[in-house]
Amino acid sequence: MDGEMNQSPLLSLEHVKLRFGEQTVLDGIHLQVQPQERLVIMGQSGGGKSTLLRLIIGILTPSEGRVRFRDQEVNRLGRRQLNVIRAKTGMVYQYSALISSLSVRDNLALPMEELTRMGAKEIERVIDEKLELVQMGHVKDQMPSELSGGMKKRIGLARALVLEPELILFDEPSAGLDPVTSSVIDELIISLTEHTRATSVIVTHEMNSAFRIGTRMVMLYEGKFIADGPPQDFRQSQNPVVAQFVEGRTNGPIGESGKWEVGMRK
């Protein structure tokens, strides 16, 4: 990220806090995402990663702090401007969130039909192209209920790509996929940023994926980022939480939360 500081960030979170009632999920998040970065967010289950992605597209509003997309403050925008940003952002949901009453084809067609003036032929071409990317061309006419979890996830990914987004948010894109498909998805995410100049924010638990995809990684722990840097820093991290997470050990500070003071912070 050094050397790119002269560029203006695509996305920035300043001092973001989020509470659900008494529970503080995010407790002062600072983050700047540069264009064409592939940022991997790691963190415990229930740590607030999905919540963080929801904040970015303005589904949730932070209790404190600011979320900016380019120079626009997401939570101060009117509905129309917010929807413009959302149309430029693709979101891959953890549980796919496909529209269950629409076929795979119609799920992919939906954003194009509702938000663009593309003709039927053009829409059909994009659908075929995106389904091919995720290797799902053969299920075009099926309903989501007829697909497996991993298949749905890939359709969800294809749907996020139909409008050629500038920013793509992936919520655990390879969870529940076999290792080969998972690698295919990883390659896809990499090629997306390399060929289309898209920026990606990827939430993942899979260490192999994380190291393969990420140009930068952050670790979310107890509502804060406790580490932020290029992947190699994470491999040799001195931070016990990061080290435990990367190695997947059971003994360590994670799981005894409260006993351990947050240490290294970049």
Partner: protein
């Protein structure tokens, strides 16, 4: 202020009414945005699908319930009026009662149970499975896209279904009049045409539009605010039906009081 138990209920009811008004305003805004881009609010196919589901499917139930109600009403009033030799009043009675009161009310209740429940369950399931959120995240207004066609369908179809209800009730009334009251069919028709006032028909139509809006709004609001998985969808569906039926009956009374005053 004393903590009356009724006060809490009133406050909650008011909070919900204002949420529903916001839903309506939000939907209007989203439709406005879409129109501003030079596009129709929803695709014709979606609207047709909703109207087919809402309207055509409800015809048998509305027709049957109204037919039997009309029949019963003619039977009971005929039986009473006959002792005074006034059975000529039966057709007018059935016609007026249904056009301005029972038709809209019955149809409203039937649609609350049949369509309102379906709307709530559908939107509730979509909310729980994050489909509504996904639509919002794509930048497609979910209120316009999901609520809009449902609301338009139910509001436009209510008057049509009320007409069917009225006709069915009159057929029921006619059956009794012909068989037990010695009123011939042509005489029955004449009596209905003489007795029925335009005012009553208009009042009925206004009511039916109003009830359609109430049922649709309550159902969609309940669906979009579901919390807590499958059980939440079940609870929301029950509450949607109960709320819309009570609201329809209450609105009916208010409307009648106002109308008598005028």
């Amino acid at each position: 202020m004393p903590d009356l138990p009724g006060l809490g209920i009133l406050r909650r009811a008011l909070a919900q009414v204002s949420s529903i008004v916001w839903l309506l305003i939000g939907m209007g805004g989203e439709i406005g945005d879409h129109l501003a881009r030079g596009r129709l609010p929803f695709r014709r196919a979606v609207l047709f699908e909703q109207t087919a589901r809402t309207g055509v499917g409800s015809v048998p139930l509305v027709g049957m319930v109204s037919f039997f109600l009309g029949l019963t009403m003619a039977l009971l009033t005929g039986y009473e009026l006959r002792t005074f030799g006034m059975e000529r009043l039966v057709p007018e009675l059935v016609a007026t009662a249904f056009c301005r009161e029972l038709g809209p009310l019955m149809t409203g209740i039937v649609l609350a149970a049949r369509i309102g429940a379906a709307y709530t369950a559908e939107l509730g399931t979509m909310t729980v499975s994050e489909e509504v959120e996904a639509i919002e995240a794509m930048g497609i207004g979910p209120l316009r896209f999901l609520v809009g066609p449902k609301l338009v369908a139910i509001v436009l179809l209510m008057p049509c279904l009320v007409v069917i209800s009225n006709v069915a009730a009159l057929i029921g009334g006619a059956v009794i009049s012909i068989t037990t009251l010695n009123i011939a069919l042509s005489y029955f028709v004449d009596l209905v045409r003489e007795g029925l006032l335009v005012k009553d028909v208009i009042a009925g139509i206004i009511k039916s539009l109003m009830f359609g809006l109430i049922v649709g709004l309550v159902a969609c609001y309940r669906g979009l605010t579901v919390k807590g998985g499958a059980a939440g969808v079940g609870a929301a569906t029950t509450s949607s039906v109960v709320t819309s039926i009570t609201t329809v009956i209450a609105a009916d009374s208010v409307f009648n009081i106002l109308l008598v005053k005028i």
